[in-house]
């Protein structure tokens, strides 16, 4: 599966860190990082590899959160089914929105996704089952497969880690498959991809659905962890946050979104008491990164290692 030995090494080290982490850090914070890492990776599949900037990914994340919260809390479904239902609904939603927005290109697509997300926000705001401003809570943490007791945060952490690894592994495989290569070709030169005979719209649509579905899984898992689905999850601010995470980590890099998610979630955790300042800080990070560091942390790292090897050669 992993052809590049360096990726294997990085992957193994990351998994080892992830397995040992709950001994050092509060598990709920770690689970939040994992959720957003999956969300940002799914988003990056679309932005970094298909070149589509969606400004409405909160609609997939948030709808799935509502669906899983509703099915688990009100309909009494098992947790794993609730999460799957959330992902499935998000994928269907991704299909509908994707069909409409690939009819336009570039910046218009961005505005269309934002507009549809806003429409869904209003739908959830007034829909009777969402609990309005209070949200849907508390979502019970029912045992996974009837035997894994997830009321304990540490146990749930390993379940979330497993969900994350499956989702992230899927994204990794998609990016390194022939399908992923075609996506990159479309991103870099769409007319050329068309002239080579690829059905560009179909590739874009599949990428859109995949990204939406996996964002949904992340959102549904989030609802289980925090036992809550709320309007925050479908608000445009959430769409902005996932863009910010991806930008911080590095657009188009595989591990970048993980770093970005950890960075932003960690920052929010530190600034939690400062209220509106979080918005200001996020805005400043956006402006700074766009001006001076468009490739994010991963770009900075690869730049540094590049310089280091050059430096060694000179010696």
């Amino acid at each position: 599966m992993f052809k590049n030995p360096r990726s294997i090494l990085i992957g193994l080290v990351l998994i080892a860190i992830a397995l040992a982490a709950p001994a050092f850090v509060y598990p709920v914070l770690l689970m939040k990082v994992l959720c957003f890492a999956l969300f940002a990776s799914a988003f990056n599949l679309l932005l970094g590899f298909a070149g589509i900037l969606s400004f409405g990914h909160a609609m997939f994340f948030g709808s799935a959160a509502y669906v899983s919260a509703h099915t688990i809390k009100v309909l009494g479904w098992p947790t794993e089914l609730g999460i799957l239902a959330g992902g499935a609904i998000a994928a269907v939603l991704g299909l509908l929105v994707g069909l409409l927005c690939i009819r336009r290109k570039g910046i218009y697509m961005t505005m269309i996704t934002l507009a549809f997300a806003q429409m869904l926000f209003f739908v959830f705001l007034s829909a009777p089952f969402t609990g309005g401003e209070n949200g849907l809570q508390p979502v019970p943490r029912r045992a996974i497969l009837g035997m894994i007791d997830i009321s304990n945060d540490r146990v749930l952490y390993y379940v979330v880690l497993a969900i994350f690894l499956v989702g992230f592994g899927l994204i990794y495989r998609v990016i390194h498959s022939p399908f992923g290569q075609v996506l990159k070709a479309i991103r870099d030169n769409e007319p050329r991809a068309i002239s080579l005979g690829y059905d560009v719209d179909r590739f874009k649509l599949i990428a859109f659905v995949l990204s939406a579905g996996l964002s949904g899984v992340a959102g549904a898992t989030k609802a289980v962890i925090f036992q809550l689905a709320s309007l925050t999850d479908v608000h445009w601010g959430m769409s902005g946050e996932v863009i910010l995470m991806t930008l911080v980590g590095g657009i188009g890099s595989i591990f970048g979104p993980l770093l970005g998610a950890a960075f932003i979630v960690g920052m929010q955790n530190q600034l939690a008491g400062l209220g509106e300042w979080v918005l200001v800080v996020q805005g400043l990070i956006f402006m700074t990164l766009v001006m001076v560091l468009r490739t994010g942390i991963m770009g900075l790292l690869s730049d540094m290692s590049h310089r280091l090897s050059k430096f060694r050669e000179q010696k």
């Binding site: 409409l100 336009r104 961005t110 505005m111 209003f122 400043l284």
Partner: protein, 293 residues
């Protein structure tokens, strides 16, 4: 009482006037977006924030300096527009040769900073700005406040003034030419970078002007910008960004449709613009007035 489709006439007309006023705001804002996009190829996400800034500058002038509405109507757009010029000169300028999405992300960041700072300072409830033209006309079937007539009038004046400058004057000809082919226009000795800066300043000033006009009819709140900007994006998708007249007509029309929706299908009044956007995308993907490049 007169009824139309089961709705009392005064209610219907009242909502139509409100819709026309909202439409006036949409028209001015989408006009500004279209003007900026034409020259800079940047979607100005900060447009909503600059609209909010316009309203707040007017409010600050009134409550801190004692300057009334008519001063603010001229001064606030100048102040916010000057801020826009600084933003363009210092930051946006360096993004034109990069992927267009970075311009969008930068202006989004600016919008977050502006909204965050004002929310920190003023809270999210909003300030009251007094009506500069109190009173109104009793038309028999409804009461029409003078200020609402003023809004619609001044919005039409601004929109068609802008249209006239861009489509019918020499300066507008330069602008349109620079939109098509900046390199060639530069070769004729026209200072295109200056044109770009002034265009951004003008677009931002338009947003601020819309904010000043809106201040007396709604609370001056830090949230007013992010509420309206997404709807305006939908308006822009429906109308297309290539046509000045398209932006104006679509803005007014969608305001009116929203007003009608409030009367006939109130549960859809928030979403009707987005539903229309979906329908337009299905039937005429390039937008009502647009051509896809």
């Amino acid at each position: 009482m007169d009824m139309i489709f089961g709705v009392p006439l005064p209610l219907l007309l009242g909502q139509l006037v409100l819709g026309l006023i909202n439409g006036a705001t949409y028209a001015i804002l989408s006009l500004g977006l279209a003007v900026i996009f034409g020259m800079l190829k940047v979607i100005n996400f900060a447009h909503g924030a600059q609209y909010m800034l316009g309203a707040f500058v007017a409010w600050m002038m009134a409550s801190w300096l004692g300057l009334g509405f008519w001063y603010a109507l001229i001064l606030a757009p100048l102040v916010v527009g000057a801020g826009g010029i600084v933003l363009e000169r210092v930051f946006l300028r360096h993004l034109y040769d990069k992927d267009h999405l970075f311009g969008l992300l930068f202006t989004f960041g600016f919008a977050l900073v502006a909204e965050g700072l004002f929310r920190y300072h003023f809270g999210s409830t909003g300030q009251i700005y007094s009506n500069p033209i109190p009173g109104g006309m009793q038309l028999g079937f409804m009461f029409l406040p003078y200020y609402r007539i003023f809004i619609v009038g001044i919005a039409l004046l601004i929109c068609f003034g802008t249209w006239f400058v861009i489509e019918r004057t020499k300066l507008g000809a330069y602008l349109r030419a620079a939109t098509e082919d900046p390199v060639l226009v530069r070769a004729f000795g026209i200072n295109v970078p200056l044109l770009i800066t002034l265009t951004y300043g003008f677009g931002v000033a338009l947003a601020a002007l819309a904010g000043v006009i809106a201040a007396p009819i709604q609370n001056v709140s830090p949230l007013m910008g992010s509420h309206i900007i997404i709807t305006v994006f939908a308006v822009v998708v429906i109308g297309g960004l290539n046509s000045i007249m398209g932006a104006i007509i679509t803005g007014f029309a969608l305001g009116l449709i929203e007003g009608l929706a409030k009367v006939f299908i109130p549960e859809m009044s928030n979403t009707v613009v987005f539903v229309i956007m979906a329908i337009v995308l299905l039937l005429r993907p390039a937008g009502l007035f647009g051509q896809e490049q």
